[in-house]
């Protein structure tokens, strides 16, 4: 695979919808790098942020397959759109004695928050882009990452989604009216 794509799907919040989306990805052979689901601004509508392996025509095919699910209201391919990507991570880093101050310092350097300190470890909360979290993890690796929990990416377009920040290859009106 050559790169990843970021899709946002707005879906009717009905039982089984997550299974349906996940099943579709599995059945059509798409690899999910991360999947986040939660409420959207509209009651009854959930927002999924899906990061998948693949680009271009494959993703277009994936989008069309998503639209075949009755619960799927809208799919946006935001891969090439100017947007904010954020992910929350809780990272338990081994920290005894002198290491503790260094880990806390590292967390501060990344605008992270130390949410727990215990005898052997420090829990750092980071809200950042996946890239930044990866960088933090590499550095924290020197001390030892004992536990890691990441939410997966949530994303939002900067400004409003219009011609100024959408690449030209959007589906035409012929694709879906």
């Amino acid at each position: 695979m050559n790169g990843q794509s970021t899709l946002v799907a707005l879906v009717a919040d009905s039982p089984g919808v997550l299974t349906k989306v996940a099943t579709l990805f599995r059945r059509r052979g798409f690899n999910i790098a991360s999947l986040n689901v939660g409420h959207s601004e509209e009651p009854g509508v959930s927002r999924m942020t899906i990061v998948i392996e693949g680009t271009g025509a494959e993703i277009k095919h994936c989008e069309k397959q998503l639209y075949k699910l009755v619960e799927v209201l809208k799919v946006l391919d935001l891969t090439e759109v100017d947007r904010v990507d954020k992910e929350l991570a809780l990272i338990k880093v081994a920290a005894r004695g002198a290491d503790r101050a260094e880990v806390v310092g590292l967390a501060q350097a990344f605008d992270g928050e130390v949410v727990d300190v215990s005898k052997d470890a420090v829990v750092v909360q980071l809200t950042a882009s996946p890239y930044t979290i990866e960088r933090f993890l590499r550095l924290a690796g020197d001390f030892g990452v004992l536990e890691l929990s990441r939410t997966g990416v949530v994303t939002m377009v900067r400004g409003t989604l219009d011609k100024s920040n959408v690449p030209a290859r959007r589906p035409s009106s012929n694709h879906r009216e």
């Binding site: 089984g16 099943t23 095919h61 639209y67 009755v70 799927v72 035409s172 012929n174």
Partner: protein
């Protein structure tokens, strides 16, 4: 404002069935679905056909749906009843057949406890249905049932599965059935994009060697008149897919038969040589295209399909049109100029007369091809044929000329053997006056042979032709050609099918020669009720033409060694 009355879940379902004009349902009861049957008892307008295996019921509903281009209904109980429906559900999904499947489920307090006859059947059917529901609240049932019928038959049709727990069948509700269904995320296309249709017309008007490739979408949207108008106006040869058989009269001069792995030699060559494909309601399946990288290399492709996900899925298209075939052709046809393509048609006519793949081989032995041709001759084409899967299916499509819509039925997509007998039953129930021939191999016949009991019980007058070569013929053919004749698991030791039929109470005839066959067909036609003819055909006949796996259409083998 209609008065709100209390009714239980079972009655809600029956009321919706009535509203939707359902007069026959196919099924088998069980513990979890008994309350539904108890409700159905009071609805004599809906005739229930008891099948001997739920798979038969599912296929019968599929046949019924195709025969009338409407929604079929099949029902089963929870657990094993529901899992027996899985194959027909998958088949209806692959073939875009509108069937509503209603299954019983264990009562809601037992769901998730591994209760007796519990299966997470909606979990199973997610990837093989257009939509499915587990209805846990009876107040939801009126809407769900109405939605199920709406979704099954609009847009690209498909199966919808409604799973109803036992206590939900029994619980009462006064929730009304909605009159209009609106689903926010579901907007089936109407006619295609005007600009695209104009571009399509330009390509058609400019083409020197156009062909129309007509698929199932023509039949689903009943675009037969529009297709014929287009073909005749611009004199464009019409080639169909397996599911497109019957879209266009096969005895018409512009008909060039079926494309594909066992399509007509001239059809495959025409598509390889053409400069424009007008693809109408088809999905360019691998059995249609042969080696995709070499498919119709000289042609631009116009692809009309109601499902956007089919466009550009397999072949690149010059003009994609997402829309209903009929509505699209109604706009397209007036933009198409009269034309006659004499050179192109002359070339294809010559190809067809020099390579007549639609003729049975000239052979003294009784070949399977003869069987189908004799049925065609005896019925003068005035019959519906339900084919099974395998060699019999291909010969049934090749050796019979289908001039009318909705007269050839086959499980082309999933390719489930065992389809023909129960599906023919459904077709016959849907069209009682039609002569219905079930053309099945000896292998596929035995997969749902138990439905002879159903046919006998209801005296459903299907004519069952078993093309008996004592083999899983297509398997044997592949083992011969691609596995050095190392036959394993393809030979069948069969019972005497005529005697089997008689034991079920159905007239059974054995035919071993050409003359026997003609006599047996005449006798079958002269008999009012069901008849089975066991046609003992030449065992070693292989099915040709053939596009071997990995080959291109241009490399079609006309006739094997």
């Amino acid at each position: 404002m209609t008065e709100r009355k209390m009714r239980n879940g079972g009655q809600v379902i029956c009321d919706v069935l009535l509203e939707e004009g359902v007069s026959a349902i196919f099924g088998m009861p069980g513990g979890a679905s008994l309350p539904f049957y108890n409700a159905l008892y009071d609805y004599p307008q809906i005739k229930h056909y008891l099948f001997r295996n739920e798979q038969g019921a599912g296929y019968a509903a599929d046949g019924y749906a195709r025969a009338l281009n409407t929604v079929g209904v099949a029902t089963a109980t929870s657990g094993p009843g529901a899992t027996n429906l899985v194959t027909p559900i998958a088949s209806a999904m692959m073939d875009s057949i509108p069937v509503v499947f209603i299954t019983g489920q264990v009562a809601t307090p037992f769901i998730g406890t591994d209760a007796f006859q519990e299966t997470d059947i909606t979990g199973v059917t997610i990837p093989i249905t257009k939509q499915n529901y587990l209805v846990k609240d009876v107040d939801e049932l009126p809407r769900v049932m109405k939605e199920a019928f709406y979704l099954a038959q609009t847009g690209r049709p498909g199966p919808v599965h409604v799973d109803v727990p036992k206590d939900v069948f029994l619980a009462e509700t006064d929730a009304p059935v909605p009159e209009v269904i609106k689903i926010r995320g579901y907007k089936p296309a109407g006619a295609g994009h005007r600009g695209m249709i104009r571009r399509a017309a330009e390509l058609i008007n400019d083409a020197d060697r156009p062909v129309i490739l007509a698929g199932h979408g023509v039949a689903i949207s009943a675009a037969f008149d529009e297709l014929r108008e287009l073909a005749e106006k611009a004199r464009i040869p019409v080639i169909t897919t397996l599911h497109g058989v019957g879209d266009f009269p096969e005895t018409h001069k512009l008909s060039f038969g079926m494309i594909g792995m066992h399509g007509m030699y001239y059809a495959n060559l025409a598509v390889s040589d053409c400069d424009l494909i007008v693809g109408l309601g088809l999905r360019f399946d691998d059995r249609v295209t042969g080696r995709v990288s070499d498919f119709a290399q000289r042609a631009k492709i116009i692809h009309v399909d109601i499902d956007p996900a089919e466009i550009e899925k397999v072949v690149p298209t010059a003009v994609p049109i997402v829309g209903d075939v009929k509505a699209t052709l109604q706009i397209l046809n007036p933009l198409v100029h009269k034309s006659d393509h004499p050179e192109w048609l002359g070339k294809l006519d010559k190809l067809r007369s020099e390579h007549p793949s639609h003729e049975p081989p000239d052979d003294e032995r009784f070949l399977p091809q003869h069987m189908v041709r004799y049925i065609y001759e005896a019925t003068e084409g005035a019959a519906a044929v339900v084919a099974d899967v395998g060699q019999n299916q291909m010969w049934a499509s090749q050796m019979f000329f289908y001039d009318r819509p909705y007269t050839f039925f086959s499980a082309g997509g999933l390719g489930g053997m065992g389809y023909a007998l129960p599906a023919a039953t459904g077709v016959q129930v849907a069209r009682p006056k039609e002569t219905v021939w079930c053309v099945t191999g000896d292998g596929g016949f035995q997969i749902n042979i138990q439905e002879l009991a159903t046919i006998a019980e209801y005296q459903i007058p299907v004519k069952i032709g078993v093309m008996n070569n004592s083999n899983l013929g297509m398997i044997r053919q592949w083992q011969k050609r691609f596995y050095d004749g190392r036959y394993l698991g393809s030979e069948l030791k069969n019972p005497d099918f005529a005697k089997v039929a008689e034991a079920f109470g159905i007239r059974g005839i054995r035919a071993e020669t050409k003359d026997d066959a003609k006599d047996a067909i005449s006798e079958a036609m002269a008999t009012d009720g069901p008849v089975l003819v066991d046609f003992i055909v030449n065992e070693l006949e292989d099915c040709y033409p053939m596009v071997e796996p990995g080959s291109s259409l241009a490399e079609t083998v006309e006739r094997g060694a």
